[in-house]
Protein backbone atom coordinates (compact mmCIF):
# COMPACT_ATOMS: atom_id res chain seq x y z
CA UNK A 1 0.00 0.00 0.00
CA UNK A 2 1.37 3.37 -1.04
CA UNK A 3 0.39 6.79 0.30
CA UNK A 4 0.17 9.40 -2.45
CA UNK A 5 0.13 13.15 -1.98
CA UNK A 6 -1.56 14.85 -4.91
CA UNK A 7 -0.93 16.26 -7.44
CA UNK A 8 0.43 13.10 -8.98
CA UNK A 9 3.79 13.81 -10.59
CA UNK A 10 4.52 12.00 -13.85
CA UNK A 11 7.79 10.82 -12.33
CA UNK A 12 5.84 9.04 -9.62
CA UNK A 13 3.41 7.57 -12.16
CA UNK A 14 6.40 5.72 -13.64
CA UNK A 15 6.88 3.86 -10.36
CA UNK A 16 3.30 2.63 -10.11
CA UNK A 17 2.63 -0.94 -11.11
CA UNK A 18 -0.57 -2.72 -11.94
CA UNK A 19 -2.46 -4.22 -8.97
CA UNK A 20 -0.78 -1.92 -6.47
CA UNK A 21 -3.06 -0.38 -3.87
CA UNK A 22 -2.82 3.38 -3.32
CA UNK A 23 -4.26 5.86 -0.86
CA UNK A 24 -4.80 9.25 -2.48
CA UNK A 25 -4.61 12.48 -0.48
CA UNK A 26 -5.31 15.89 -1.99
CA UNK A 27 -7.43 17.38 -4.77
CA UNK A 28 -9.23 15.47 -7.52
CA UNK A 29 -11.81 16.59 -10.05
CA UNK A 30 -15.08 14.88 -10.84
CA UNK A 31 -16.65 14.60 -14.26
CA UNK A 32 -18.79 12.10 -16.11
CA UNK A 33 -20.63 11.76 -19.42
CA UNK A 34 -22.14 15.22 -19.97
CA UNK A 35 -19.16 17.04 -18.45
CA UNK A 36 -16.82 15.15 -20.76
CA UNK A 37 -18.89 16.11 -23.75
CA UNK A 38 -18.69 19.76 -22.71
CA UNK A 39 -14.95 19.63 -21.99
CA UNK A 40 -14.44 18.17 -25.44
CA UNK A 41 -16.47 20.96 -27.01
CA UNK A 42 -14.40 23.57 -25.15
CA UNK A 43 -11.20 21.96 -26.40
CA UNK A 44 -12.50 21.84 -29.98
CA UNK A 45 -13.33 25.55 -29.79
CA UNK A 46 -9.98 26.33 -28.12
CA UNK A 47 -11.80 27.79 -25.12
CA UNK A 48 -10.52 27.81 -21.54
CA UNK A 49 -11.23 24.73 -19.42
CA UNK A 50 -12.67 25.04 -15.91
CA UNK A 51 -9.56 23.44 -14.43
CA UNK A 52 -5.99 22.68 -15.44
CA UNK A 53 -5.72 19.18 -16.89
CA UNK A 54 -1.95 19.00 -16.49
CA UNK A 55 -0.96 16.92 -13.50
CA UNK A 56 -4.53 16.34 -12.43
CA UNK A 57 -6.94 13.46 -11.97
CA UNK A 58 -10.53 13.06 -13.13
CA UNK A 59 -12.80 10.82 -11.07
CA UNK A 60 -15.78 9.38 -12.95
CA UNK A 61 -18.55 9.80 -10.44
CA UNK A 62 -22.03 11.24 -9.91
CA UNK A 63 -22.90 11.45 -6.22
CA UNK A 64 -26.22 10.95 -4.48
CA UNK A 65 -27.63 14.03 -2.67
CA UNK A 66 -25.69 15.29 0.33
CA UNK A 67 -27.28 14.49 3.71
CA UNK A 68 -27.24 17.17 6.37
CA UNK A 69 -23.97 17.24 8.25
CA UNK A 70 -22.04 15.42 5.53
CA UNK A 71 -19.69 16.69 2.84
CA UNK A 72 -21.20 14.61 0.06
CA UNK A 73 -23.60 11.72 -0.44
CA UNK A 74 -22.70 8.28 -1.71
CA UNK A 75 -19.81 8.78 -4.13
CA UNK A 76 -18.46 5.64 -5.81
CA UNK A 77 -17.06 5.30 -9.34
CA UNK A 78 -19.08 4.96 -12.51
CA UNK A 79 -18.19 2.85 -15.57
CA UNK A 80 -15.10 4.31 -17.21
CA UNK A 81 -15.78 2.91 -20.68
CA UNK A 82 -18.47 5.50 -21.35
CA UNK A 83 -15.79 8.20 -21.19
CA UNK A 84 -13.52 6.39 -23.68
CA UNK A 85 -14.41 8.55 -26.71
CA UNK A 86 -13.40 11.72 -24.84
CA UNK A 87 -10.39 10.55 -22.84
CA UNK A 88 -7.47 10.43 -25.32
CA UNK A 89 -7.84 14.16 -26.08
CA UNK A 90 -7.70 14.94 -22.34
CA UNK A 91 -4.66 12.72 -21.82
CA UNK A 92 -2.90 14.39 -24.73
CA UNK A 93 -3.46 17.71 -22.96
CA UNK A 94 -1.78 16.56 -19.79
CA UNK A 95 -4.39 14.77 -17.69
CA UNK A 96 -2.36 12.41 -15.52
CA UNK A 97 -4.88 9.90 -14.26
CA UNK A 98 -8.49 8.81 -14.38
CA UNK A 99 -10.37 6.97 -11.66
CA UNK A 100 -13.28 4.71 -12.54
CA UNK A 101 -14.42 1.14 -12.85
CA UNK A 102 -14.21 -1.35 -15.72
CA UNK A 103 -11.80 -1.64 -18.64
CA UNK A 104 -10.86 1.02 -21.23
CA UNK A 105 -10.80 0.70 -25.01
CA UNK A 106 -7.69 0.44 -27.17
CA UNK A 107 -7.39 4.15 -27.93
CA UNK A 108 -7.48 5.10 -24.25
CA UNK A 109 -5.01 2.34 -23.50
CA UNK A 110 -2.66 3.67 -26.21
CA UNK A 111 -3.07 7.24 -24.97
CA UNK A 112 -2.18 6.15 -21.42
CA UNK A 113 1.10 4.65 -22.64
CA UNK A 114 1.82 7.53 -25.04
CA UNK A 115 1.45 10.08 -22.24
CA UNK A 116 2.89 8.16 -19.32
CA UNK A 117 -0.46 8.34 -17.55
CA UNK A 118 -2.29 5.85 -15.37
CA UNK A 119 -5.82 4.48 -14.97
CA UNK A 120 -6.89 3.84 -11.41
CA UNK A 121 -9.66 1.52 -10.31
CA UNK A 122 -11.97 2.67 -7.52
CA UNK A 123 -13.93 -0.08 -5.79
CA UNK A 124 -17.14 -0.34 -7.79
CA UNK A 125 -20.36 0.14 -5.88
CA UNK A 126 -18.60 1.36 -2.73
CA UNK A 127 -20.32 4.74 -2.68
CA UNK A 128 -20.76 4.95 1.09
CA UNK A 129 -17.11 4.13 1.70
CA UNK A 130 -15.90 6.79 -0.74
CA UNK A 131 -18.26 9.32 0.77
CA UNK A 132 -16.31 8.89 4.00
CA UNK A 133 -12.98 9.61 2.24
CA UNK A 134 -14.05 12.97 0.83
CA UNK A 135 -13.30 15.90 3.11
CA UNK A 136 -14.59 18.75 0.95
CA UNK A 137 -16.64 19.12 -2.20
CA UNK A 138 -17.54 22.11 -4.34
CA UNK A 139 -19.18 22.47 -7.72
CA UNK A 140 -16.59 23.92 -10.05
CA UNK A 141 -18.42 24.14 -13.37
CA UNK A 142 -21.54 23.13 -15.31
CA UNK A 143 -23.71 23.27 -12.19
CA UNK A 144 -26.78 23.02 -14.41
CA UNK A 145 -25.86 19.36 -14.85
CA UNK A 146 -26.69 18.48 -11.22
CA UNK A 147 -24.98 15.21 -10.26
CA UNK A 148 -23.14 15.39 -13.62
CA UNK A 149 -21.46 18.73 -12.87
CA UNK A 150 -17.70 19.11 -12.47
CA UNK A 151 -16.81 18.97 -8.79
CA UNK A 152 -13.56 19.71 -7.03
CA UNK A 153 -12.97 17.29 -4.17
CA UNK A 154 -10.44 17.03 -1.40
CA UNK A 155 -9.84 13.41 -0.49
CA UNK A 156 -8.07 11.63 2.33
CA UNK A 157 -7.00 7.96 2.36
CA UNK A 158 -8.96 7.47 -0.84
CA UNK A 159 -8.35 3.82 -1.82
CA UNK A 160 -7.67 2.81 -5.44
CA UNK A 161 -5.85 0.07 -7.32
CA UNK A 162 -3.52 0.72 -10.24
CA UNK A 163 -5.55 -0.71 -13.12
CA UNK A 164 -3.55 0.25 -16.22
CA UNK A 165 -0.02 1.39 -15.53
CA UNK A 166 2.07 3.61 -17.80
CA UNK A 167 3.73 0.58 -19.38
CA UNK A 168 0.36 -0.80 -20.41
CA UNK A 169 -0.02 -3.59 -17.86
CA UNK A 170 -3.75 -4.03 -17.41
CA UNK A 171 -5.48 -5.53 -14.38
CA UNK A 172 -8.59 -6.24 -16.46
CA UNK A 173 -6.76 -8.47 -18.93
Amino acid sequence: MREIQLPLEKSLVKELTVGEELRLNGTIYVGRDQAHQRLTRLIENSEALPFELKGNIIYYMGPSPTPEGRVIGSAGPTTAGRMDPFTPALLDRGLTAMIGKGNRNQSVYDAIIRNGAVFLYAFGGCGALYSDKITSSEVLAFDDLGPEAIYKLKVKDFPVLVAIDCRGNNIFK
Binding site: S64, P67, G73, G102, N103, F123, G125, G127, S131, F172
Partner: protein, 281 residues
Amino acid sequence: MRTLKSQEVYIPLKDAIMQSGVVLPDDILLGIEKAKREEEDGPALSVLKHITDNLSIAGKKHIPLCQDTGMVILFVSIGQELIIEGDPLEKVLYRAVEDAYEKGLFRKSVVEDPLKDRKNSGNNLPPVIYYDFLPGDRLIIKGLLKGFGSENCSRVFMLKPTDGREKVIESVVSAVRDAGGAPCPPVVLGIGIGGTMDYAAKLSKKALLRKLDQHHPDPYYSDLEKEILDQVNATGIGSGGVGGKTSALGVKIEKFPTHIAGLPVAVSVNCWADRRLEISL
Protein backbone atom coordinates in the same frame (compact mmCIF):
# COMPACT_ATOMS: atom_id res chain seq x y z
CA MET B 1 -63.54 -9.37 -1.28
CA ARG B 2 -60.86 -7.77 0.84
CA THR B 3 -60.22 -4.05 0.96
CA LEU B 4 -56.86 -2.42 1.37
CA LYS B 5 -56.41 1.32 1.77
CA SER B 6 -53.94 2.89 -0.63
CA GLN B 7 -51.99 4.22 2.34
CA GLU B 8 -51.49 0.62 3.50
CA VAL B 9 -49.65 0.00 0.25
CA TYR B 10 -47.78 3.29 0.12
CA ILE B 11 -46.08 3.14 3.52
CA PRO B 12 -44.56 -0.38 3.41
CA LEU B 13 -43.50 0.08 -0.22
CA LYS B 14 -41.81 3.40 0.45
CA ASP B 15 -40.05 1.93 3.49
CA ALA B 16 -38.94 -1.15 1.56
CA ILE B 17 -37.45 1.01 -1.21
CA MET B 18 -35.62 3.20 1.31
CA GLN B 19 -34.28 0.14 3.11
CA SER B 20 -33.13 -1.62 -0.04
CA GLY B 21 -30.91 1.27 -1.13
CA VAL B 22 -28.96 1.04 2.11
CA VAL B 23 -28.96 -2.60 3.27
CA LEU B 24 -28.52 -5.69 1.10
CA PRO B 25 -30.59 -8.87 1.50
CA ASP B 26 -29.06 -11.55 3.77
CA ASP B 27 -28.47 -14.08 0.99
CA ILE B 28 -26.30 -11.55 -0.87
CA LEU B 29 -24.35 -10.72 2.29
CA LEU B 30 -23.70 -14.44 2.81
CA GLY B 31 -22.61 -14.75 -0.82
CA ILE B 32 -20.12 -11.92 -0.40
CA GLU B 33 -18.75 -13.49 2.80
CA LYS B 34 -18.33 -16.83 1.04
CA ALA B 35 -16.50 -15.16 -1.85
CA LYS B 36 -14.20 -13.50 0.67
CA ARG B 37 -13.38 -16.79 2.36
CA GLU B 38 -12.56 -18.42 -0.96
CA GLU B 39 -10.43 -15.63 -2.40
CA GLU B 40 -6.66 -15.60 -2.08
CA ASP B 41 -4.72 -12.56 -0.95
CA GLY B 42 -4.53 -9.99 -3.74
CA PRO B 43 -6.55 -7.30 -5.54
CA ALA B 44 -9.81 -9.30 -5.66
CA LEU B 45 -9.75 -9.91 -1.92
CA SER B 46 -9.11 -6.21 -1.42
CA VAL B 47 -12.20 -5.47 -3.55
CA LEU B 48 -14.33 -7.79 -1.40
CA LYS B 49 -13.01 -6.30 1.84
CA HIS B 50 -13.83 -2.81 0.63
CA ILE B 51 -17.31 -4.00 -0.33
CA THR B 52 -17.84 -5.28 3.22
CA ASP B 53 -16.51 -2.05 4.73
CA ASN B 54 -18.78 -0.12 2.41
CA LEU B 55 -21.83 -2.07 3.52
CA SER B 56 -21.13 -1.44 7.16
CA ILE B 57 -20.58 2.31 6.58
CA ALA B 58 -23.83 2.54 4.57
CA GLY B 59 -25.75 0.79 7.34
CA LYS B 60 -24.25 2.81 10.17
CA LYS B 61 -24.53 6.20 8.52
CA HIS B 62 -27.73 5.53 6.65
CA ILE B 63 -26.51 6.57 3.26
CA PRO B 64 -27.06 4.72 -0.01
CA LEU B 65 -24.58 1.86 -0.30
CA CYS B 66 -24.02 2.83 -3.92
CA GLN B 67 -24.56 6.30 -5.39
CA ASP B 68 -26.37 4.77 -8.35
CA THR B 69 -29.62 4.03 -6.59
CA GLY B 70 -30.97 2.86 -9.89
CA MET B 71 -34.22 2.84 -11.76
CA VAL B 72 -37.02 1.08 -9.90
CA ILE B 73 -38.52 -2.08 -11.38
CA LEU B 74 -41.69 -3.39 -9.73
CA PHE B 75 -43.48 -6.70 -10.23
CA VAL B 76 -46.95 -6.17 -8.85
CA SER B 77 -49.15 -9.22 -8.33
CA ILE B 78 -52.73 -8.34 -7.51
CA GLY B 79 -55.19 -10.77 -5.95
CA GLN B 80 -58.42 -10.84 -7.91
CA GLU B 81 -60.44 -10.61 -4.72
CA LEU B 82 -58.70 -7.48 -3.57
CA ILE B 83 -60.01 -3.94 -3.79
CA ILE B 84 -57.65 -1.04 -3.24
CA GLU B 85 -59.44 1.95 -1.82
CA GLY B 86 -58.30 5.55 -2.23
CA ASP B 87 -55.86 6.59 -4.91
CA PRO B 88 -55.42 4.47 -8.03
CA LEU B 89 -52.76 1.80 -7.44
CA GLU B 90 -50.31 3.13 -10.01
CA LYS B 91 -50.43 6.57 -8.48
CA VAL B 92 -49.63 5.04 -5.09
CA LEU B 93 -46.67 3.13 -6.50
CA TYR B 94 -45.32 6.29 -8.14
CA ARG B 95 -45.70 8.26 -4.92
CA ALA B 96 -43.89 5.58 -2.92
CA VAL B 97 -40.97 5.65 -5.36
CA GLU B 98 -40.81 9.43 -5.47
CA ASP B 99 -40.99 9.90 -1.71
CA ALA B 100 -38.51 7.09 -0.96
CA TYR B 101 -35.94 8.69 -3.27
CA GLU B 102 -36.53 12.11 -1.78
CA LYS B 103 -36.47 11.04 1.88
CA GLY B 104 -33.69 8.50 1.44
CA LEU B 105 -31.55 11.10 -0.36
CA PHE B 106 -31.17 8.66 -3.21
CA ARG B 107 -29.78 9.90 -6.49
CA LYS B 108 -32.44 10.62 -9.09
CA SER B 109 -31.17 8.78 -12.10
CA VAL B 110 -34.08 8.76 -14.53
CA VAL B 111 -34.30 10.98 -17.62
CA GLU B 112 -37.72 11.91 -19.02
CA ASP B 113 -36.90 11.35 -22.66
CA PRO B 114 -34.38 8.65 -23.60
CA LEU B 115 -33.17 10.44 -26.71
CA LYS B 116 -34.42 13.97 -27.27
CA ASP B 117 -32.97 16.02 -24.43
CA ARG B 118 -32.39 13.47 -21.65
CA LYS B 119 -33.64 15.86 -18.99
CA ASN B 120 -33.63 14.37 -15.50
CA SER B 121 -37.20 13.74 -14.36
CA GLY B 122 -36.14 15.04 -10.94
CA ASN B 123 -38.01 12.42 -8.92
CA ASN B 124 -36.73 9.10 -10.27
CA LEU B 125 -40.09 8.53 -11.94
CA PRO B 126 -41.34 6.58 -13.68
CA PRO B 127 -40.57 3.11 -12.39
CA VAL B 128 -40.83 0.14 -14.77
CA ILE B 129 -43.89 -1.82 -13.64
CA TYR B 130 -45.11 -5.31 -14.56
CA TYR B 131 -48.56 -6.29 -13.36
CA ASP B 132 -50.10 -9.70 -13.07
CA PHE B 133 -53.03 -11.31 -11.30
CA LEU B 134 -53.21 -13.83 -8.51
CA PRO B 135 -56.04 -15.91 -7.18
CA GLY B 136 -57.06 -14.76 -3.69
CA ASP B 137 -56.89 -11.41 -1.97
CA ARG B 138 -53.19 -10.65 -1.50
CA LEU B 139 -51.04 -7.93 -2.96
CA ILE B 140 -47.42 -8.89 -3.51
CA ILE B 141 -44.92 -6.34 -4.74
CA LYS B 142 -41.38 -7.39 -5.56
CA GLY B 143 -38.82 -5.05 -6.94
CA LEU B 144 -35.31 -4.07 -7.80
CA LEU B 145 -33.37 -0.84 -7.63
CA LYS B 146 -31.54 -1.46 -10.87
CA GLY B 147 -28.19 0.21 -11.39
CA PHE B 148 -27.16 0.81 -14.97
CA GLY B 149 -23.46 -0.05 -14.81
CA SER B 150 -24.75 -3.59 -14.69
CA GLU B 151 -27.91 -3.07 -16.73
CA ASN B 152 -25.86 -1.84 -19.69
CA CYS B 153 -24.26 -5.31 -19.74
CA SER B 154 -27.60 -7.14 -20.03
CA ARG B 155 -28.20 -8.94 -23.34
CA VAL B 156 -30.80 -10.75 -25.43
CA PHE B 157 -29.80 -13.61 -27.74
CA MET B 158 -32.22 -14.95 -30.32
CA LEU B 159 -30.76 -18.44 -30.64
CA LYS B 160 -31.74 -21.11 -33.14
CA PRO B 161 -34.09 -23.82 -31.85
CA THR B 162 -31.41 -26.45 -32.40
CA ASP B 163 -28.65 -24.49 -30.68
CA GLY B 164 -29.30 -26.31 -27.42
CA ARG B 165 -27.95 -26.10 -23.92
CA GLU B 166 -24.27 -25.53 -24.78
CA LYS B 167 -25.07 -22.49 -26.88
CA VAL B 168 -27.20 -21.05 -24.07
CA ILE B 169 -24.29 -21.40 -21.66
CA GLU B 170 -21.85 -19.97 -24.18
CA SER B 171 -24.08 -16.94 -24.81
CA VAL B 172 -24.48 -16.13 -21.14
CA VAL B 173 -20.77 -16.56 -20.47
CA SER B 174 -19.94 -14.32 -23.44
CA ALA B 175 -22.18 -11.59 -22.02
CA VAL B 176 -20.35 -11.77 -18.70
CA ARG B 177 -16.96 -11.87 -20.39
CA ASP B 178 -17.77 -8.81 -22.52
CA ALA B 179 -18.96 -7.01 -19.41
CA GLY B 180 -15.70 -7.60 -17.53
CA GLY B 181 -15.41 -5.29 -14.54
CA ALA B 182 -18.05 -2.78 -15.66
CA PRO B 183 -21.09 -4.31 -13.89
CA CYS B 184 -19.33 -4.41 -10.49
CA PRO B 185 -18.73 -8.15 -10.19
CA PRO B 186 -19.32 -10.47 -8.45
CA VAL B 187 -22.54 -10.23 -10.43
CA VAL B 188 -25.90 -11.89 -10.02
CA LEU B 189 -27.39 -13.22 -13.26
CA GLY B 190 -31.08 -13.48 -14.06
CA ILE B 191 -31.71 -15.55 -17.15
CA GLY B 192 -34.96 -15.78 -19.10
CA ILE B 193 -35.27 -18.64 -21.56
CA GLY B 194 -38.17 -18.98 -24.01
CA GLY B 195 -41.24 -16.88 -24.72
CA THR B 196 -40.61 -14.04 -27.15
CA MET B 197 -37.74 -11.55 -27.22
CA ASP B 198 -39.49 -9.17 -24.82
CA TYR B 199 -40.87 -11.92 -22.60
CA ALA B 200 -37.48 -13.57 -22.17
CA ALA B 201 -36.16 -10.19 -21.06
CA LYS B 202 -38.98 -9.81 -18.56
CA LEU B 203 -38.32 -13.32 -17.24
CA SER B 204 -34.66 -12.48 -16.76
CA LYS B 205 -35.72 -9.66 -14.42
CA LYS B 206 -38.23 -11.90 -12.69
CA ALA B 207 -35.44 -14.41 -12.07
CA LEU B 208 -33.44 -11.68 -10.32
CA LEU B 209 -36.23 -11.38 -7.75
CA ARG B 210 -35.42 -14.81 -6.30
CA LYS B 211 -32.97 -15.33 -3.48
CA LEU B 212 -29.58 -16.79 -4.35
CA ASP B 213 -30.46 -20.12 -2.76
CA GLN B 214 -33.85 -20.38 -4.42
CA HIS B 215 -32.87 -22.69 -7.23
CA HIS B 216 -35.10 -23.61 -10.14
CA PRO B 217 -37.52 -26.39 -9.10
CA ASP B 218 -36.80 -28.44 -12.25
CA PRO B 219 -33.45 -30.26 -11.75
CA TYR B 220 -32.60 -29.78 -15.43
CA TYR B 221 -32.66 -26.04 -14.90
CA SER B 222 -31.12 -25.99 -11.43
CA ASP B 223 -28.24 -28.00 -12.92
CA LEU B 224 -28.01 -25.47 -15.71
CA GLU B 225 -27.90 -22.65 -13.16
CA LYS B 226 -25.01 -24.38 -11.44
CA GLU B 227 -23.19 -25.12 -14.68
CA ILE B 228 -23.45 -21.50 -15.81
CA LEU B 229 -22.28 -20.30 -12.39
CA ASP B 230 -19.24 -22.58 -12.55
CA GLN B 231 -18.35 -21.47 -16.07
CA VAL B 232 -18.78 -17.80 -15.23
CA ASN B 233 -16.51 -18.22 -12.22
CA ALA B 234 -14.03 -20.08 -14.41
CA THR B 235 -13.59 -16.93 -16.54
CA GLY B 236 -11.41 -15.53 -13.76
CA ILE B 237 -12.94 -12.05 -14.12
CA GLY B 238 -13.20 -11.89 -10.35
CA SER B 239 -14.50 -9.25 -7.98
CA GLY B 240 -14.31 -5.80 -9.51
CA GLY B 241 -13.01 -7.44 -12.69
CA VAL B 242 -9.48 -7.44 -11.28
CA GLY B 243 -9.06 -11.22 -11.59
CA GLY B 244 -10.22 -13.72 -8.99
CA LYS B 245 -12.24 -16.78 -8.11
CA THR B 246 -15.73 -15.36 -7.75
CA SER B 247 -17.17 -13.57 -10.77
CA ALA B 248 -20.80 -14.29 -9.94
CA LEU B 249 -22.64 -14.83 -6.66
CA GLY B 250 -25.50 -16.67 -8.26
CA VAL B 251 -27.43 -17.58 -11.41
CA LYS B 252 -31.21 -17.79 -11.54
CA ILE B 253 -33.25 -19.03 -14.49
CA GLU B 254 -36.91 -18.58 -15.42
CA LYS B 255 -38.28 -20.37 -18.46
CA PHE B 256 -41.40 -20.26 -20.62
CA PRO B 257 -42.76 -22.14 -23.66
CA THR B 258 -41.61 -20.72 -26.97
CA HIS B 259 -42.18 -20.98 -30.73
CA ILE B 260 -40.96 -24.00 -32.76
CA ALA B 261 -38.65 -21.68 -34.71
CA GLY B 262 -36.84 -19.96 -31.86
CA LEU B 263 -34.94 -20.01 -28.58
CA PRO B 264 -34.84 -16.55 -26.98
CA VAL B 265 -32.34 -16.16 -24.16
CA ALA B 266 -32.10 -12.98 -22.11
CA VAL B 267 -29.50 -12.23 -19.47
CA SER B 268 -30.04 -9.53 -16.90
CA VAL B 269 -26.79 -8.67 -15.23
CA ASN B 270 -26.99 -7.31 -11.71
CA CYS B 271 -24.11 -6.06 -9.60
CA TRP B 272 -23.12 -7.33 -6.16
CA ALA B 273 -25.26 -4.40 -4.98
CA ASP B 274 -28.27 -6.60 -5.66
CA ARG B 275 -30.95 -4.39 -4.17
CA ARG B 276 -34.17 -6.37 -4.00
CA LEU B 277 -37.33 -5.64 -2.13
CA GLU B 278 -40.49 -7.58 -1.40
CA ILE B 279 -43.69 -6.75 0.42
CA SER B 280 -46.65 -9.00 0.85
CA LEU B 281 -49.91 -7.48 1.99
